[in-house]
């Protein structure tokens, strides 16, 4: 036979449990907008029964645990998707910038400047006696040089920006790794206090999720509750210790500082091993951006060389043997100082007569000349091709970003369906536990009445 006071205890435990249930629902609702939050669930079990001569008598409810409702496989898949998304996002951002730089508006873009330059020589061929037209030619050359400089400066700035971004993100990666190691330590230590560990684990998940955007990570959970982190075969976090990941400017080669590299404990990591946003930044910088840059240099160098070969072989009113352009690439490309300051040095003839326009025509004809150095294209054709290539790359990166965003979204929906907070569900839980609390309180009241009855009888046992 149980004591009447034990009935009071049963009701008290039920009221405690329901209070905890409301508390958890409240916690869940409070974190409804917390990114990466994993909902918690109150796990109730029946209290151990009291064995009597008449059979087992139930003793009420017992709070077993507060559980994080989580699917670790989905979480790992998310790390991978996140890295993939960040890879394309970084590439798309960079290529989008190049896309804007190269521009398509014929009037102001490099393509227009190339056409205008050669057409200016054609104009000179119809007005060889007019020095004002020579100024037009020089101005067209200066504009062409300006367009080359705009582009090359734009590409240089973009490269510097990418390097800064790599350095900043690498620093953040190092910070996250240290935090993950420190959380590992706390989680392992607090294993005795599961509810505290739950929120620490949420913080760790959030950090790992952010980390997976920067680099392509692999995680492994150990038996003590710690998570080890790997990138490109290198272990970055082991239980409570993390390595230092650093971004360093590469060695200085022939006066120019080389691009920023990412190294782990002194080992330089390949971009494709890094993956994620940082890997993509390194790859886009070293491949796509570098190839646009070299194509642009090739174009500037070829135009300068072809024009100069003709120009220096002929005569202007002021003299002969002068180059029209200086420089061999997009950065150094400019109109020769002599010609720039004295347009009468712009050559027009091969036979040193004032009316011979054959040299001016030959330079103008370069506009439509296909050149081996430009892959068998004309200068404008080569530039058009470059713009088209950049456009295609940017377009396919954009569409990959959209695809990845969509698959990432679908995966997030699946994760949310397991771990996310549903307002309706929490309201139902609150109602459930509230009702349970009210019923338990009523039970306690009933037991109290029973006690009153007993006391009024004036006897005890």
């Amino acid at each position: 036979m149980t004591s009447i006071f034990s009935l009071l205890n049963t009701s008290r435990r039920a009221m405690d449990a329901s209070q905890m249930g409301v508390q958890i629902a409240d916690h869940n609702i409070a974190n409804i907008n917390t990114p990466g939050y994993i909902r918690q669930e109150l796990m109730l079990t029946p209290m151990r029964s009291l064995v009597t001569a008449f059979g087992d008598v139930g003793m009420g409810v017992n709070v077993d645990s507060v559980r994080r409702v989580n699917d670790e496989f989905l979480q790992k898949a998310m790390f991978k998707e996140n890295a993939g998304y960040s890879e394309w996002k970084a590439a798309s951002d960079v290529l989008g910038r190049v896309d804007v730089l190269t521009g398509v508006d014929g009037g102001s873009s490099l393509g227009g400047a190339i056409t205008d330059f050669f057409n200016a020589f054609d104009k000179l061929s119809t007005n060889v006696e007019d020095n004002a037209v020579r100024s037009v030619v020089v101005n067209a050359g200066v504009t062409l040089a300006d367009r080359f400089h705009d582009l090359s400066t734009g590409l240089d700035d973009l490269k510097t920006e990418i390097d800064t971004k790599i350095a900043r993100q690498t620093k953040r990666v190092s910070g996250i790794l240290a935090q993950v190691a420190s959380l590992n330590q706390k989680i392992i230590a607090s294993d005795a206090n599961p509810s505290q560990a739950n929120d620490l684990k949420v913080s760790r998940s959030q950090l790992l999720n952010e980390l997976s955007g920067y680099v392509n990570i692999k995680t492994e959970k150990d038996q003590f509750g710690g998570v080890d982190v790997y990138v490109g075969g290198h272990q970055l976090v082991h239980r409570d210790s993390a390595v230092v990941v650093s971004a360093t400017p590469g060695a200085t080669v022939s006066g120019a500082s080389q691009p920023v590299e990412v190294s782990v404990d002194g080992f330089v990591l390949d971009a494709h091993k890094l993956g994620g946003g940082i890997g993509s930044l390194v790859e886009t910088r070293d491949n796509e951006l570098a190839s646009v840059r070299s194509a642009l240099d090739q174009l500037a160098g070829t135009i300068a060389e072809k024009v100069n070969t003709i120009h220096r072989s002929g005569f202007s009113p002021a003299g002969s043997g002068v180059d029209f352009f200086d420089g061999t690439d997009a950065t150094t490309f400019q109109v020769n100082e002599v010609v720039r300051n004295q347009p009468e040095y712009v050559a027009h003839s091969y036979d040193n007569t004032p009316g011979d326009n054959t040299l001016a025509k030959d330079i103008a004809a370069l506009r439509d000349t296909t050149m081996d150095e430009l892959g068998g294209r004309t200068p404008v054709g080569f530039f058009g091709n470059l713009v088209g290539d950049v456009g295609s790359l940017a377009a396919s990166a954009n569409s990959m970003v959209q695809n990845k965003d969509m698959t990432k979204g679908q995966l997030q929906t699946r994760i949310d369906s397991v771990s996310g907070v549903s307002l309706d569900e929490e309201v139902a839980n609150v109602t459930r536990f509230k009702t349970m609390y009210e019923a338990s309180a009523k039970m306690m009241n009933t037991v109290n009445n029973m006690l009153d009855t007993l006391i009024s009888l004036g006897g005890t046992r």
Partner: protein
């Protein structure tokens, strides 16, 4: 499936963003009038736009060059018309002085008039437009005609032609040099004899029809008795190849060069009463060019195929040359007399004959006429060619004779001298020379007119090209308003719906119903 609150939010925001981004895109297209702003929005279109923009700018430049060329040529034409009028005036005053009624004093007076007209002509030909002398060749800053100390007019220009780029791969000459007008430049002789060679089995198919040649193509030969062969000229180079193919077909046909040596005949040897029929296939013209397309009973007689003279033509194949090899001719040029001996050692082909002449007389150039009808000789001065007796080569080749120049100022000066000297014969000679000069000026006017006409036609072609390129560019880059505005309206509806749905979804939850 459980639907988390964050999922609702994320999906709503995603849909709103997608709808808004589409809306912004379309709005940009409508407001800018362009389908794309960046290459990534249409990489192929962007590339085409750059090329088309280049094309349009280039056409604009060709158009400018055409206008400038037209301006210079029209100015030159104006001067040439004036020049013609002045020369006719000289001729008419000279004609008045040729008869015996005129005396020494009127002739002297007229000499003054001629001198005055000469000076007017000098100033006409020294005209400049935009600081450019029209008739100085490349020496555009130098007056082309200047009187020297001896009172004679000298040409100070050169023979430089000024060509403008007036179209893709097209140039037009925009000037007439002083020497072309005043006649200090070339004199030439064209052979007067018919030097058309005989057709032989080794005659190249390329020489057919005055050098137009025989195009590659297929034709059938039918013997009228059930036998047909298809012949392809693609791999054939000589008459012998064609004849061999017909004869070797086993149809009982015998093809060969006719006795006149100007065409190919096909004899139906085995079936003399049946028709030989030759038909071009697949719209080809090979048989027609060979002169054998047609049908005829017994024998198909080919038409005259007029083979062109080439440097490889053996002299023995030229019927006009009765003495093979030719003997010697004498060339009088620049005060020297040069004998060209074609017989030591004997020349056997046209090419050898040309080379022998050119190496013996460096002042002159012998070459084939266009179309290979004969030979011509060009020089920068007057020259005469005559036979060395008893030879007749010059006459046979048709190059014996004198090449005269139209000397504008020389003729005026001769006339003036003849008038002062009261020399009737001299006046007569000068009038003849002035007529030559007028003919030359008229010819040059014709040249200028035909250039102007070409430029005018070119202008129309450029305008058509420009319109076409602009249309293509517009197709590539310009927004199709009706279509885009319709899409824009749809996009606005989608956006509004996305917003409405989101607010409804946020509004609906159990909380509202349980704890109101």
């Amino acid at each position: 499936m459980r639907v988390a609150f964050s999922t609702l939010g994320r999906l709503s925001v995603q849909n709103i963003n997608r709808a808004l981004s589409n809306l912004v895109d379309l709005r940009e297209q409508v407001s800018s009038g362009r389908k794309f702003q960046r290459a990534s929005q249409d990489p192929v279109g962007a590339q085409r736009a750059i090329l088309l923009t280049n094309e349009i700018a280039s056409i604009g430049q060709y158009r400018d060059a055409t206008e400038s060329a037209t301006m210079y040529l029209e100015s030159s034409q104006g001067v040439l018309l004036d020049l013609g009028a002045r020369l006719r005036e000289v001729k008419s005053v000279a004609l008045q002085q040729r008869n015996d009624t005129s005396d020494a004093s009127t002739r002297k007076t007229t000499a003054v008039t001629v001198r005055s007209i000469r000076d007017q002509i000098v100033s006409l030909l020294n005209s400049q437009v935009n600081g450019r002398r029209l008739f100085s060749g490349h020496l555009t800053q130098t007056d082309p005609f200047v009187e020297n100390a001896a009172g004679k007019i000298e040409y100070h220009g050169d023979d430089g032609l000024i060509r403008y780029r007036v179209g893709p791969g097209q140039e037009e000459i925009t000037n007439i040099t002083g020497s072309q007008v005043a006649g200090t430049s070339s004199a030439f002789l064209m052979s007067t004899a018919d030097l058309t060679p005989k057709l032989t089995l080794s005659t190249s198919l390329a020489a057919f029809n005055r050098g137009t040649g025989v195009p590659a193509g297929k034709f059938t030969v039918d013997n009228g008795a059930g036998g047909t062969v298809t012949i392809d000229t693609a791999a054939m180079t000589t008459v012998g190849d064609v004849v061999g193919a017909i004869n070797g077909a086993g149809l009982g046909l015998v093809a060969g060069v006719n006795t006149a040596g100007d065409g190919i005949d096909i004899l139906n040897l085995f079936n003399p009463t049946a028709a030989v029929t030759v038909t071009d296939l697949q719209n080809g013209t090979a048989a027609t060019a060979l002169g054998i397309a047609g049908t005829s009973v017994g024998m198909l007689k080919g038409t005259d195929v007029s083979p062109a003279l080439t440097t490889a033509t053996p002299l023995a194949d030229i019927p006009a040359l009765t003495s093979v090899p030719p003997d010697s001719i004498r060339v009088l040029v620049g005060g020297s007399s040069i004998t060209v001996d074609f017989n030591t050692p004997p020349v056997s082909t046209v090419g050898e004959l040309i080379n022998r002449f050119n190496s013996a007389v460096p002042q002159l150039t012998m070459s084939l006429t266009p179309g290979g009808t004969g030979l011509r000789i060009d020089g920068q001065q007057e020259f005469t060619i005559e036979d060395v007796s008893p030879g007749t080569s010059g006459a046979q080749i048709g190059i014996a004779g004198s090449a005269r120049q139209a000397r504008l100022f020389g003729s005026l000066e001769s006339l003036e001298q003849a008038l002062i000297a009261d020399d009737g014969d001299g006046i007569e000679k000068s009038i003849a020379e002035i007529e030559l000069v007028i003919d030359n000026v008229v010819r040059v006017q014709g040249t200028v007119a035909s250039r102007l006409e070409r430029l005018d036609k070119g202008k129309q072609v450029l305008d058509t090209h420009k319109t076409s390129a602009e249309t293509r560019l517009s197709d590539v880059v310009s927004t199709e308003m009706a279509e885009t505005i319709t899409s824009l309206t749809q996009a606005q509806t989608v956006y509004q719906t996305a917003l409405g749905t989101a607010s409804t979804v946020y509004d609906l939850n159990l909380f509202r119903y349980v704890y109101r």
